[in-house]
């Protein structure tokens, strides 16, 4: 299935539809439809690792589309809900104020995944920057505390 390009494309399109509907349900359909298309795409991309947070655009490499489902929907959506007027009027791509939070959420999930992976296989992820991820998580926890 993974190597069936048509099937994979259809799945990705439906995943995007699902999360579009989720945003619409949480923000209001009118607000969601009022947000510019590039911004809507960016909000969807922030849920994956296809959003280049420090630049504020979608990654050029569409091959990463099926990769890690990094940032929890509830996190990005709650930030978007706090800034709906900015989203509607944005002339540049809006992103959460502290974009480190985006990475920290992703980093936390990656750290858990890495630890589970190491426990199951006995070897860590190759090239995985574990210490940086842990640092991100500690910063995130410290900020929340």
């Amino acid at each position: 299935m993974l190597f069936d390009f048509d099937f994979a494309t259809k799945v990705q399109a439906l995943v995007a539809r699902y999360y579009s509907d989720q945003y619409a349900a949480h923000l209001g359909r009118e607000i969601w439809n009022g947000i510019s298309e590039p911004q809507r795409i960016a909000l969807l991309a922030m849920l994956r690792d296809v959003h280049v947070t420090h630049i504020g655009r979608v990654s050029y490499n569409l091959y990463v589309l099926p990769e890690l489902n990094c940032t929890p929907f509830s996190f990005v959506c709650s930030k978007a809900r706090e800034h709906t007027s900015e989203l509607l009027e944005a002339r540049q791509i809006w992103r959460p104020d502290n974009y480190q939070d985006l990475w920290a959420a992703a980093g936390f999930k990656l750290r858990v995944l890495s630890e589970v992976w190491e426990a199951v296989t006995g070897t860590p992820f190759q090239f995985f920057p574990a210490s940086k991820t842990v640092d991100d998580s500690i910063l995130m926890i410290a900020r929340q505390g």
Binding site: L14, Y18, E67, S74
Partner: protein, 64 residues
Amino acid sequence: MDPYDTNVFSDIFLVLREYKSEFPEIFMDGMGEPLARAFTVLEDNTLLRPYDRRYDHPKMSTNY
């Protein structure tokens, strides 16, 4: 298996649960096929709503 395969599979489970009508080749024409039968049997044990709050659900027991 690559680390991101988990996410690929969860994506597939999500759309198969939410958009069955988009896959008539699996759920209508192919109900007798192994893939459709396997998914039908497993469906209640795959992803559970709300998908982004998986810890809302009780842990799996030994029965699982």
